[in-house]
Amino acid sequence: MSDTAEPRPKAYWSRIVDAIARHRALAVLVVLLIFPFVLPYEALASNIVIFGLFALGFNLVFGYTGVLSFGHAAFFGVGAYGTGIAIVHLGLPWWVAMLIGVLAAGVTAMIMGALAIRTRGIYFAMVTLALAQCVYYIVYQMKGWSGGENGLNGVIVGQIDLGFASIDLLDPMQKYFFTLTFVALAIFIFSRILASGFGAVLEAVRENEDRARACGYDVRLTKWLAFVISGLFCGLAGALNAIHLSVVPIEILHYHMSGQVVMMALLGGMGTFFGPFAGAIVFLLLEDVVTTMTTHWQLILGLVFMACVLFFPRGVWGSVLQWVRR
């Protein structure tokens, strides 16, 4: 955790939080393991871990490097389309397809990053938004491959034979744990990256770009690398989403999706490890529950978001952290 408070007499809660912070990846995993048993239905739990991973990847750029990208839907979408196309049109096995999806997202991030990284602040957000819209229209126009407006349907994996065991993806619980395996792996890698020297440089860039440069770090390259790594994580989330839903809708590339991930990261707490997952949980669960109750769900969600911005400026998890560490 970057924003650890000054050492002072610690309360009981604070000690627990610190313990969690030390084993952050493990803590996230424990929460996610009990997830499908407490949520209304398993498909929602799968959605939440997938979007949590998406927001986690996004948070590397937004929360840790301090750059606001408004084009992350492109990586999520390219990951999903890459996987989907590999399964539907090329008939490749699921794991090759996922690899293709993730790599395609990585390549997209390389190109977008190279073009966008020279700008800063609001201009960076605008350029990434524009580039992501380009990706949207390219995919939209590739009707033969992507299905265009109709989306890509029939991304069906069904049974997975591992040799020693077989996984039935039609069983919602098995599908959740299949998804979670990849998410868990990603979480551990993510935690490792943050703990590395590179992770420290990222935060240095966020805190003071000039000072980081003065220390001899190549700020541009650092940002670009963060962008690409972030794209890989988001691509993995997209690949999992394609397998989870068996369809890849075109709206996955829409800028609404980019906005949604910004919202999740903010809601959960930018620059915190658990924040993106907290954001995904609050966002998706609230939307799911409120939608079932009323057709005016947007009004209620809007009010909740406003309340969050007013009362939890550091996001849900960020506020929890601050509260227990006072």
Binding site: D3, V38, A43, E149, I156, L170, D288, T292
Partner: protein
């Protein structure tokens, strides 16, 4: 970075607010699983109904849900299936395929529905169809699409109660090209639906040797058509086919009228919807020719239409049902008819019945073609009335022609790859 000053002032209150907020969100989080229902199979017959309750087609979707409920009530009043009652589970798909896929998963996995019916967009229905087919659930789609009939998307669990763009445009094209000029212009909304409609028109026109003098595409949800319409005007067509929908249709018609194009050429809108026409007003639409699956005036000749209208009117202050609403009624109704005929909710038994049965729910006899499960049904060619000719506010169309149910209207099974 830090916002310390917030926390130095009024520690107590802020803390309280935080606590209340946390407690509040905990309560919200806890709510769904407190009432988590156990799988209750073998009790009621559950039909999942994902439709876009919110968004641009919200009112249409809510009407579909109301009509579907009428079919459920009718089944239950007749005693259900040996006392097993039917239940409609309406879900909001927000007109997004991803949301629809998640909602369908919820309906199948959590609610344990027996059948799924619904959706109001070409792309959404394909997503719902994929999810249902993968899990062996019967899905009856009630919105227009050509792709759902094609081998790529079709499965034995897929049924399509709605008409498809091919038959809609084909029927209108037949009428128009037979009776008016051969110089035809197209205004096409640049997405799947628009292109499918245009394709249907061209196929219909081949027989009559039409000449396409202009083909103008506009982006979806255009506000300003003033750059597109002069191109069409300059080509001097006899007929203008509007292959668009909703507000695009309304806006392009409004502007075409102000350009004086209505006097110069015949306006054709293949999907001429009752609610759209009522929202747009008589003056904008008068004289426009199109096709529909249903218009309430059919009650003068068709007994089932009368019965359906009467039930709907009783619950809706005397207003008659719309065309798309009727799809909701028919889509759910035919599933329940098949359940009754099969004597169970067993999927294969119900499919067998659906394939075999001829049914008349609201518009005369229909049946599902065996190869693609497309509902073979009559298509009605209608013309929007002038204000002066309307008997009351609901009397908006004149029925010009009835094309009886025939498989000739559909693409051949071979051309669909089946």
């Amino acid at each position: 970075m830090t916002k310390e000053r917030h926390f130095k002032k009024g520690v107590q209150t802020r803390r309280q607010i935080l606590k209340t907020g946390l407690a509040g969100s905990a309560a919200v989080l806890a709510a769904p699983w407190i009432g988590r229902p156990a799988f209750a199979q073998g009790e009621s017959i559950k039909i999942g109904f994902p439709v876009p309750l919110t968004g641009p087609y919200g009112s249409e979707a809510q009407e579909q849900a109301r009509c579907a409920q009428i079919a459920i009530d009718k089944f239950n009043e007749a005693g259900g299936l040996d006392g097993r009652m039917a239940e409609l589970l309406v879900r909001d798909d927000k007109l997004k395929s991803g949301e629809a896929a998640t909602r369908t998963l919820e309906l199948i996995e959590k609610d344990g529905v027996d059948f799924v019916c619904g959706s109001l967009s070409a792309s959404v229905q394909l997503a719902v169809n994929t999810v249902c087919a993968e899990r062996g659930k019967i899905y009856n789609s009630i919105s227009q699409s050509d792709a759902i009939n094609e081998a790529e998307n079709f499965s034995k669990y897929t049924f399509h109660e709605a008409m498809n763009p091919h038959m809609t445009a084909g029927a209108v094209g037949d009428y128009v090209f037979k009776n008016s000029g051969k110089r035809v212009a197209f205004l096409i909304a640049d997405y799947a639906y628009g292109h499918e409609m245009a394709r249907g028109f061209k196929v219909a026109g081949e027989k009559y040797g039409i000449e396409v003098v202009a083909e103008v595409k506009h982006p979806l949800a255009s506000k300003d058509f003033s750059t597109f319409l002069p191109q069409i005007q300059a080509a001097r067509p006899d007929v203008l086919c509007l292959c668009n929908f909703g507000f695009d249709q309304l806006n392009s018609l409004k502007q075409a009228r102000s350009f004086g194009m209505k006097e110069q050429m015949m306006m054709v809108a293949p999907a001429l919807l009752y609610n759209q026409r009522r929202a747009g007003g008589a003056s904008v639409y008068s004289g426009v020719v199109g096709a529909t699956n249903y218009y309430w005036k059919l009650e003068d000749e068709i007994a089932t239409a009368k019965a359906f209208n009467d039930v709907y009117r009783a619950g809706n202050d005397g207003a008659p049902p719309s065309d798309y609403g009727a799809y909701g009624y028919a889509g759910v109704g035919v599933l329940l008819n098949a359940v009754t005929a099969a004597g169970s909710t067993d999927t294969d038994g119900v499919i067998e019945q659906l394939e075999a049965m001829k049914y008349d729910l609201y518009k005369g006899e229909e049946h599902y073609r065996t190869c693609d499960h497309q509902a073979v049904q009559s298509v009605f060619i209608i013309e929007s009335k002038d204000e002066a000719d309307m008997e009351n506010e609901y009397d908006v169309f004149r029925i010009l022609e009835k094309d009886g149910a025939s498989e000739d209207m559909l693409r051949s099974c071979e051309s669909l790859g089946l």
